[in-house]
Amino acid sequence: MTVKIDALGKACPTPVILAKQAIDGGVRDLTISVDNDMAVQNLSRLAQSQHMTAQAVPISGGFDVHITGEGGGETAPETVCCPAAEHTEDCTFFIGKDHIGEGDGELGRSLMKMFLYTLTQRAEPPRALLFMNSGVRLPAGEAQIVESLQALEKKGCEILVCGTCLNFYNLAGELKVGTVSNMYDIVERMDAAAKVVTV
């Protein structure tokens, strides 16, 4: 049985929505009336994406688009591109040590690695990461951590690393990601951030 949908006088994208709802609801034979050629073309694209066929027949004041088929559309693989970094969340992290929490040192360092990796998986990068004291070992250390930080930097996250601390730990030549910075800049970033989280 053909399901009929009247979308005459309905602007884009309403005809597509109505047809999509019907198809999603299991309808495999529908006729949708539209009043413009663009709606016809949009509907034939919809039909194609759902592995169905569309045929348009002129009627007075528009077209009847007849959509039939087995259905079962698959979504095509997508090209994903990272966003132009717009810091909607506007969060800055202050990282003053190379591990998370108190307790077993090895667990703490492993948690830090996971924490930085998890940051890379979020849609929005933090505005900045500020490394001080033993925290500076992170951007000067393990490849996996450096990779996470590089990914964040690429997404627009600013990475500032305390120069005094690098010198203190003899890591001045070891920094692999981020910018060597100073107390003045770090305080300024904290001041500018809507939210500073100490890790």
């Binding site: 602007a11 884009c12 994208p13 309403t14 597509v16 929505i17 999509k20 050629d37 663009m38 073309q41 949009n42 509907l43 034939s44 694209r45 919809l46 194609q48 994406s49 759902q50 979504t75 095509a76 997508e78 090209t79 994903v80 591109c81 990272c82 966003p83 132009a84 970094a85 717009e86 909607t88 849609a123 690429k154 997404k155 627009g156």
Partner: protein
């Protein structure tokens, strides 16, 4: 609260999709008397992004105006986007915006808080651009609309026209395509939250950073990709230089998920207008999907800059751009025009 108003419900066309098609515009302007002035470096006969008028050896004024109905529901974000879009034309000429005037149409459904939020959004972006709003004009209208008239400065010898593609140039695009499709899908309730967030952030993102990097390199031509779609703007570039542009569709940056949405037919009317305008000049290779083609014709609101730069300078420019704009990509190149088509999509 202002945000309770769904602004896009008050508008028939969204954003740059409301633009009169390029073909129609050319017809409308035909035959109108034009006065010439040797100091007018770029006028409207060139369909460039902004007009440019030379004041002195060192200084030219760059003027443009742009406004449109709501493209997002939130009035503050709408203000930001409309302002970023209007400012972009000055950036596309290689200029710096200095002064701006508000253009505002207020509909009866908008309360004072919503109107103020639109204006605050505009101020926010103009301030970020380093320019100032010096006044404006508002009228009552059935549909809300907002935008700016912008005046900027540019060095007369460093004006970047939109129609100077040279054979051997590489084309670089700074923002992903798919804005029109994403906004149409959002209107249909079929865009996921991440896409809506990303397209909103992208539209509000100023082309200032792209411009500031661009002027450090010997870029030969530039335009911003807006209502006429990527191919419409690429066509202007190719035609002016009597050259052909090869578009490498596989390299085109896209907003996440828009390919699937385009396949479903969630396409704005402006896409069809743009297609009709540029299709006759475009040769599409076999294997480029219909959805990909549709995205190349998709009207963009506050889209990225499209720059033509020599092959030699392209890698350094692209690297510098990516520091600020991770999506920037070399998407095509300019060749001699042989078989009649200005655009070749591969």
């Amino acid at each position: 609260m202002a945000s309770e108003i769904r602004l896009t419900r008050l508008a028939e066309c969204a954003g740059c999709g409301a633009k009169v098609g390029a073909g129609v515009l050319a017809q409308l302007l035909e035959g109108l008397p034009t006065h010439t002035d040797p100091r007018l470096l770029v006028g409207y006969d060139k369909s460039d992004d902004a007009s440019v008028y030379q004041i002195s050896e060192e200084l030219a004024l760059c003027q443009t105006v742009d406004f449109f109905p709501p493209i997002v529901d939130d009035p503050f974000q709408f203000g930001q986007i409309a302002a970023a879009n209007a400012l972009s034309d000055v950036y596309a000429m290689g200029g710096e915006p200095k002064l701006a005037l508000n253009l505002l149409c207020v509909s009866p459904e908008m309360d004072d808080a919503a109107v103020r939020a639109v204006l605050r959004g505009g101020y926010d972006k103009v301030y970020e651009a380093g320019a100032i709003i010096t006044g404006g004009h508002s009228i009552r209208d059935r549909e809300p609309k907002y935008g700016l008239a912008v005046t900027g400065f540019v060095h007369p010898a460093k004006v970047l026209r939109n129609d100077r593609a040279r054979v051997g140039d590489v084309l670089i695009l700074t923002k992903p395509l798919g804005v029109g499709v994403a906004v149409t899908a959002a209107k249909a309730g079929l865009a996921d939250e991440a896409l809506v967030r990303q397209v909103t952030a992208q539209m509000a993102f100023l082309n200032k950073a792209a411009r500031d990097v661009m002027v450090r390199f010997p870029v030969g031509s530039c335009t911003d990709v807006t209502g006429f779609g990527f191919l419409g703007h690429a066509l202007e570039m190719a035609r002016g230089g009597e050259a052909a542009v090869v578009v490498e569709s596989a390299k085109i940056p896209l907003l996440p998920g828009v390919l699937a949405l385009a396949e479903m037919g969630l396409l704005p009317e402006g896409m069809y207008r743009n297609r009709r305008f540029a299709e006759g000049h475009t040769h599409v290779a076999d294997g480029v999907s219909l959805a990909m083609q549709d995205l190349l014709y998709d009207p963009q609101t506050s889209g990225g800059l499209l720059m033509a730069v020599s092959e030699k300078d392209a890698p350094a420019l692209l690297r510098a751009l990516r520091d600020e704009l991770p999506c920037a990509e070399a998407v095509g190149y300019v060749v001699e025009k042989r078989d009649g088509a200005y655009l070749m999509v591969t």
